[in-house]
Structure formats: structure tokens, C-alpha cells
Assembly symmetry: C2
Homo-oligomer: 194 residues x 2
DNA sequence: TGCTTTTGTCAACACGCGTTGATATTTGCT
DNA sequence: AGCAAATATCAACGCGTGTTGACAAAAGCA
């Protein structure tokens, strides 16, 4: 047991164990496919504790699928390369140490779970659209964001959820180059030509 | 009861009623969310009949999610506009009279159901890749198909499954124009620059 | 040491699920 | 009409689910 762990109260540590197990299970099997009993088993505790710590399976899922995109602000120098930059950032998030994080949880369940879908729509409205607006102007930001998200979401689905073989084995640079270019076009298209 | 119906044996009609109800339920709620009892209720019959006619829920789902893309062959004249053409075709399928068909069933469940995901991968391998190869050559067809599918799949997710408002309300021509152009680029990029 | 609060276990509940076999009803044929 | 086959109903099974409340062990504090 590390010092770090020792400093945490026991309750905090089990709560975290449950949370981590839940995120992994939800990310791998979706909301329906991950049972409270499975999560409890992974965390090494009794199923009843899951409920005691989080109130309900729904509440646990809500917490496990909560996240912020916080796209780092764009350096003005790379205007014109914002597309590539966004895709690179996207890959970093999905393939970084926190893979299988809240985003995976959300996307895995959103297609068959209305609550998850609603949360995803909210993320889109409150985080994606404003980002795009800051980058390419308010006018037509919703359409731009819609087109960009269509591509990014499909990329995530193909590569991380459905695991289509050619998409899985594509080198990151290739994705950055080509998808980046497509997104750049969506950013650069003048509003009156949308 | 129409003549058409009258000609069908009673068993055939109930089988079809079950099938239609199943496709609707699966398309709307996914594999887990659609229960045999729900489907039976929609079809106006006993749950046991569902099993007697289809063997199991799995088998019913397999049948309800089976489909062929059969993209119409490209007229050589519209080479150079193949991207727009593909997107137009895509929209026709999704928004035509058979909306909520097998494709919706599959996509709605693929994220949280491995069998559905496998079937989607199979469609991609046996129908999408060859189509792209016929259009842009064998070389790099897998990567091209991967990039194109990333965009198309994401469009389907955004517009029909998750229903992101800006994407839902986009006029078809706008989608055809912009997404079509992105796909055209994926088709036109020389193999050695992939 | 004793008492209180925290943390965890256990058994059980009510429910919905897919599926089954026995039984009833309807249909088609002679 | 009467028998046989096709079609549909019903009740029940075993199972897994989320959740609950009663109880047990552990920890913190006087």
C-alpha cells in the first residue's frame, strides 16, 4: 500500500475501486451489459456496497460517464492547421493512458440508452459547438460542428468501438493527415457557402 | 384483409407480423432494450410464438439485422462526382420508406452487442471494401474504405441514432455537398499519398 | 476498556427475462 | 360431419437483475 493510498480514508479507497471497476465494465460492455454484481466482483467487494456508495446503478453510470473535453486553446500560429491539431488531440485522448475513459463509456452506451445519448448531445452543445465557434466564428458554427462531429464520432466508432480492421491498423499520422484535412475544409468553408 | 394478405397462409402472415414488430423494436431500443414480450405485444400474439417461429431471440435478431447494401453501380459519367453520389444514395436508404430497416437495427446494437458488431464488420469487409476498390482501384482500398466509412458511420450516428440537433436539421443537399466532397477527396487521393 | 460510528457482509425481495411443454383452438381435407 | 394437422394460448420454469434491510466486523475515540 503506497503512502498515497494510506492517506486516503478506507471509504474513499473503496469508492474509487468501485468507480474504476465501473468505468472499465461500462466501457467494455455498455450500460446493460455491465451488471452491478460484475462491477462489485471486479472491485472485490459486495454488490450492496455499490448501491450504498453511489445510490443506484443509474447514478454510478452518470458519474462514470461524466467528463470534460477541455480542448486546449489554439495557438494562433497554427491557424490553418487547426484540423490536424484537433485530430491529433482526439487521438491523444483516446489512446492515452486514460483510454477507456468516460468518453468510451458514453459512446458505447449512447446508441441504446437514452440517458447516455442525452448526455452526449449536451456535451456536443455545450463544449463542441462553442469550441468550433471560437475557431471559425459564430456564423454556421452549428453546421460546422455537426459535420466535424460526424467525422470524429465515426472515427471513434470505427476504430475503438466496432474495431473495423483497416481503421484499427491505420497509423496515427495517416489519420491526422487525412481526417485533419477534411476537418480543415469544414472550418475554412465560408459561411455563405455552407 | 386485402387479397394480397388473403393469399398468404396464416402462418406466413403472423411470421411477418412478428418480423416487422421485431425490426421496429430492435431499431428503436437495441437488442437488450427490445424484449420478446414487447415484440409479441406489438405483433398482437403470444410471446411463445416468437420462439416457435424464429427459434430464439438471437436468431430473430440475426434475421432482422440481415441486409445487403447493394450500391447501384456507378455510371462512368459521374466519375469525379462519385462522392456526392454515394452520400445521396446513403441518404436515400436512410430516409426512404424503409427507414428504420436492418441498417438501423444493426447500428443501434453494434456498440454494445458483439454479434451485431461482428456482422457490421462483415458487411464492411464484403460489401464496402469491394465497392470502393471497384471505384478507386485495389490499391489502398481498405484505407479509403476505412476513412469513408468513418465519415458515413458518424453521419448515421449523429443524424439517426443520437439525433444531434444541428445534424438532424441539416438539409440533404447540404450534406450531399459537403460530405460528398470529403469522400471525393478520399477517393481521389493517389495511393502513394495515402 | 467500553461505546459509537464507520465499513462491510449476507440473505432475500420483487421483477423481468428467454424459453418450454402441455393444452386449447382453428383450419383444411375427405 | 369428423378426423388430422396447423396454429395459437397459457402457465410455469430457472435465471439474473437492481435494490433493501438486518446483522457483523472494524476503526476511532473517551
Amino acid at each position: 500500500m503506497t503512502d498515497n493510498d494510506a492517506r486516503k480514508s478506507k471509504s474513499r479507497r473503496t469508492r474509487e475501486a468501485i468507480f474504476i471497476a465501473a468505468r472499465r465494465r461500462f466501457a467494455a460492455h455498455g450500460y446493460d451489459g455491465a451488471s452491478v454484481r460484475d462491477i462489485a466482483a471486479d472491485a472485490g467487494i459486495d454488490p450492496a456496497l455499490v448501491i450504498r456508495y453511489f445510490g443506484s446503478k443509474d447514478a454510478l453510470f452518470a458519474e462514470a460517464s461524466d467528463f470534460k473535453l477541455d480542448l486546449p486553446p489554439l495557438d494562433s500560429k497554427m491557424r490553418g492547421r487547426a484540423g490536424e491539431y484537433m485530430v491529433q488531440n482526439f487521438l491523444d485522448i483516446w489512446e492515452g493512458p486514460d483510454a477507456g475513459g468516460a468518453f468510451t463509456v458514453l459512446l458505447r452506451s449512447a446508441a441504446s440508452n437514452e440517458a447516455a445519448a442525452a448526455k452526449l448531445r449536451e456535451v456536443f452543445a455545450t463544449q463542441v459547438i462553442p469550441s468550433v465557434a471560437a475557431l471559425a466564428g459564430t456564423e454556421g458554427a452549428q453546421q460546422r460542428a455537426g459535420l466535424i462531429t460526424s467525422h470524429m464520432l465515426g472515427l471513434a466508432m470505427s476504430r475503438y468501438i466496432l474495431k473495423l480492421p483497416p481503421v484499427v491498423s491505420m497509423p496515427p499520422e495517416m489519420i491526422v493527415t487525412h481526417v485533419g484535412r477534411a476537418i480543415q475544409i469544414y472550418l475554412d468553408t465560408p459561411s455563405d457557402r455552407l
